[in-house]
């Protein structure tokens, strides 16, 4: 069966069985080109698709998915979803639907010829090698992904959209004497022609080379400046606590803190799935709620959690349209393009410029919001970087860090880590550093 046929089959069979059902179908096309030593060492071109199904039986929800679209597999998915629902013990529902239309958020963005894309990967890799300090290049690569998503339910939801991203990046090891540093970066855009292999390679080289000949950092408390990439990682950790689902599961310290000051007055945090060039913009969420801009924190005051229909109903708050699901998963809550609004009141003085955190998944606890993270950085004095520092960790609590923010730069940069996280350069009054 095609995905379209499979969707119709599932909805018809669900109705016959007296079930409410919602079908999410997703089809992805991926192209990745990896260059090394002047040749394309790996070319990957693929298609993948599947159907995610959720059904309500006796007021409870069950899930199943399948990538095999035989009638047998679809029947299996339907009966597994129903069994899973009947075993569940929590009231749940599929929201009433509406016609959402068909949207194209990609257009001709990825339409360049394959040969041009190959050349850009090769060019990036070559440019990475053009620095005498480059010891080895692991790869220079081009990647693109195109996704078609469609949502249909027995309650009248009907909508589809197409989106995609192109990206270029690379990884290398640079050295100066015995000092070695490995660097990696990846730039994403909605359109192939917005990528610039030469500039990306130069940035990766510069960002890596500035860490060479690093000195140990003495243990102590210093003012910290977080580059957008580092701050984006912290926003990712924080985003779990902004989820109303996490809050209802007892996994957010922000429960019962709506309307309170949780950050300094400079902090305004927005999630906006409608941003015109937003890397992860979408017209509606995984339950068919139309997308809109949500101010999560306004001048330090916590305004709202991110909700799906169920969390909004449970907490009697407004649904922000942040239902998230892939066809392989259960319904969750997730941001789309979440960013800290630039302010433009930041001046570099003296302290540690943190360029990158490592080991976020292990060193930052999304429940307690405590973090203790390895970081790379530069010592700054009188507004300029003096030397690199290494072998240290930064510790604290994310809520304390938000309170201690005293300046934000004027330019937003984006990182995609599941969702897109945007931040300017951020100044934090003081953080605890463990080093030599």
């Amino acid at each position: 069966m095609t995905l379209e046929e499979a969707k119709r089959y599932l909805l018809r069979r669900a109705r016959e069985l007296g079930l409410q059902a919602e079908v999410l179908f997703q089809e992805e096309r991926e192209l990745s080109l990896r260059a090394r030593q002047g040749i394309l060492e790996e070319i990957k071109e693929a298609r993948q698709g599947g159907i995610g199904l959720r059904v309500v039986a006796q007021g409870r929800m069950g899930y199943a998915y399948t990538e095999e679209l035989s009638q047998e597999a679809l029947e299996w998915a339907l009966s597994e979803a129903r069994d899973n629902a009947l075993l569940a013990d929590k009231e749940s529902f599929i929201p009433p639907g509406q016609t959402l239309g068909s949207h194209d958020l990609l257009g001709e963005g990825l339409s360049a010829p394959l040969e041009t894309k190959k050349q850009s990967a090769l060019e990036l890799e070559r440019a990475l090698r053009e620095d005498p300090r480059t010891r080895s290049v692991l790869m220079g690569s081009y990647m693109e992904k195109e996704v078609r998503v469609a949502l249909s339910s027995t309650l009248g939801t009907e909508g589809a959209f197409r989106t995609g991203l192109a990206g270029m990046g690379g990884s290398l090891v640079m050295g100066d004497g015995p000092s070695l540093k490995q660097g990696w970066d990846f730039k994403l855009a909605k359109e192939f022609h917005l990528l610039d292999p030469g500039r990306t390679a130069l940035e990766i080289r510069e960002k890596t080379a500035r860490h060479l000949n690093a000195r140990p950092l003495p243990t102590g408390r210093y003012r910290a400046y977080l580059e957008p990439k580092a701050m984006a990682g912290l926003l990712l950790v924080l985003s779990r606590s902004l989820s109303a689902k996490s809050a209802l599961e007892g996994k957010s310290r922000l429960l019962n803190r709506l309307g309170e000051r949780i950050a300094s007055e400079w902090v305004t945090l927005v999630d906006d799935p409608t941003l015109e060039k937003g890397l992860l913009s979408r017209p509606f969420d995984a339950e068919g709620t139309p997308a809109r801009r949500t101010v999560v924190v306004e001048k330090g005051i916590f305004k709202t959690f991110l909700h799906n229909a169920e969390t909004a109903r449970t907490l009697s708050q407004e649904n922000t349209g942040h239902a998230f699901r892939t066809y392989r998963g259960i319904l969750d809550v997730a941001p789309t393009n979440l960013y800290l609004e630039p302010v433009g009141n930041l001046r570099l003085e003296k302290g540690v410029l943190i360029t990158e955190f490592m080991g976020l998944h292990a060193g930052a606890n999304p429940v307690s919001l405590d973090f203790s993270l390895q970081a790379l950085g530069l010592w700054v004095e009188e507004g300029e970087a003096r030397y690199a520092v290494e072998n240290f960790a930064v510790a604290g609590n994310l809520l304390e860090l938000l309170q201690a923010i005293e300046g934000l730069g004027d330019r937003l940069e984006w990182e995609v880590m599941g969702a897109a996280f945007g931040s300017p350069l951020v100044a934090v009054a003081e953080l605890s550093f463990a080093g030599a």
Partner: protein, 464 residues
């Protein structure tokens, strides 16, 4: 999953298209996950992954495609896409003419589960999860408990133009318990997650109630723990999951994925002393029912026991097919991938430090002031510089050779090749524990392990 006839057709056409080597990896996986919170089943999902990956080598250049269409048309279309992408379409090669003589190896069933899926129903699973949750409710401070069961039944077929034909059914089961403890505004978590290449006998090996209690005890310990001190100090690293430090700091540096590109600080060092003589480091894909074991790797080769470091001397890397082509080192059955959407690369299986001859008490007694990192969370490494980090999930201070108060929020930071030279003592109490390892070819199940080890100094990231 696929007939030999269809596989042969696709592989032969790949050779005709100019490839030196071609491989098909087909997969049909059933996955299930159930989650219990507050005494009730909140979420359950069942899934079927079904797809195939097609990999062609042109010299050391690799082209890879995957598809969910495991039909003749689907696979041939994927092949054509690849040949077009490579620019090799129409370069007909004579070598494709002959038939392929598949050497079908029968699986030995080394990791076959004792309790297959059909034997117990979902309610049986739910009851075990409820036991785990109840087991965690050991104190009023435990405010939230989440218990999940993850089951995974993966059928794979790997065939290639050298005549390999390997099939395996891999069954894995893992129980997760997360406990959240709260007092006032202070919130801390504890975690336990045993997993094996077994069926539901996992519950006999790890009684759910005890798993729950373990997670809860850790959450309570962290709740009363003070922030860890910051600075450089000796660290006694716990056994079992403690081995994650050397998984990050050493294991990743020995995969040909980075070694072949000279992007590992341990490249070209065979025969050299790279670790303290107290260290013997082994990657063993054959351990019965271990979380990271399989009979064949994802390139269809039998997995094996690979001694990486023997008494400090580097003996072997972990080598997949591409790594072998690039370096000439013999393959070690280390080609692994998350699923059909990834081409395989060299990856760890069950990697551990072999037991030494010391008692754990002696290790602790020898430390004047330091950290006992009893349980560790995850970590990360940059192989090109060796810089690693990992989080201490349960830690205690050591003063004058005695274990004292718990501390939290410690992050261990260093450079792997330096840390491994600073292992000064290795105890006898070897144990392994499961985890998921992410790298170029996706997330794969691995075990990490070791006895207790004493490292003379590591940077401990805590509160300054």
């Amino acid at each position: 999953m696929l007939s030999p006839d269809l596989v042969e057709t696709v592989l032969r056409q790949a050779l005709e298209g100019g490839a030196d080597f071609a491989e098909i990896y087909a997969e049909r996986s059933r996955k299930r996950r159930m989650t219990v919170r507050s005494g009730r089943l909140e979420e359950a999902i069942s899934g079927l992954d079904y797809g195939a990956g097609l990999r062609l080598f042109f010299g050391t250049e690799v082209v890879y495609a995957y598809t969910n269409q495991l039909t003749r048309e689907g696979l041939l279309e994927a092949l054509e896409t690849l040949l077009r992408a490579k620019g090799a379409l129409g370069q007909v090669d004579e070598r494709g003419a002959g038939g392929l003589d598949f050497r079908k190896a029968s699986p030995k069933g080394l990791h076959t589960p004792k309790v297959p899926y059909g034997e117990k129903d979902k309610r049986y699973r739910l009851e075990r999860l409820l036991e785990a949750e109840a087991g965690a409710r050991i104190a009023p401070e435990i405010r939230q408990v989440e218990a999940s069961l993850q089951e995974w039944e993966q059928e794979v077929l790997i065939a290639n133009t050298e005549g390999t034909w390997a099939e395996e059914k891999r069954v894995r089961t893992r129980l997760f318990v997360l406990a959240v403890a709260q007092e006032g505004t202070e919130v801390q978590t504890g975690y336990a997650a045993p997993g094996k290449s077994v069926g539901l006998e996992l519950f006999d090996l790890f009684p759910p109630k005890e798993v729950g209690a373990k997670a809860a005890r850790q959450a309570l310990t962290n709740l009363r723990a003070k922030p860890a001190p910051a600075g450089t100090m000796p660290v006694v690293v716990g056994n079992a999951f403690g081995g994650v430090i050397f998984h990050e700091a050493l294991g990743h540096l020995l995969e040909t994925t980075s070694v072949a590109k000279k992007a590992s600080v341990l490249a070209d060092r065979l025969g050299e002393e790279v670790a303290s003589p107290a260290v013997t480091y082994i990657d063993d894909g054959t351990l019965p029912h271990a979380w990271g074991s399989t009979e064949v790797d994802d390139e269809g080769r039998p997995t094996e026991r690979t001694v990486l470091i023997e008494r400090g001397i580097l003996k072997s890397y972990m080598v997949d097919r591409l790594g072998h082509l690039l370096t000439g080192y013999p393959m070690t059955g280390s080609g692994r991938r998350q699923d059909y959407t990834f081409a395989p690369t060299s990856r760890m299986r069950n990697t551990f430090i072999a037991p030494g001859d010391k008692e754990v008490e002696d290790l602790i007694a020898s430390v004047e002031f330091g950290l006992y990192a009893k349980e560790l969370g995850g970590g990360q490494v940059k192989p090109g510089s060796g810089e690693y980090n990992f989080a201490v999930q349960e830690g205690y201070l050591i003063r004058k050779g005695r274990l004292e108060e718990p501390v939290r929020g410690a992050m261990l930071v260093g450079k792997g090749p330096e840390t491994i030279r600073k292992v000064v003592a290795v105890a006898k109490d070897w144990e392994n524990a499961p985890g998921m390892c992410g790298s170029l070819s996706g997330m794969v199940p691995v075990e990490v392990g070791q006895p207790h080890v004493l490292v003379s100094e590591i940077v401990v990231g805590g509160r300054a």
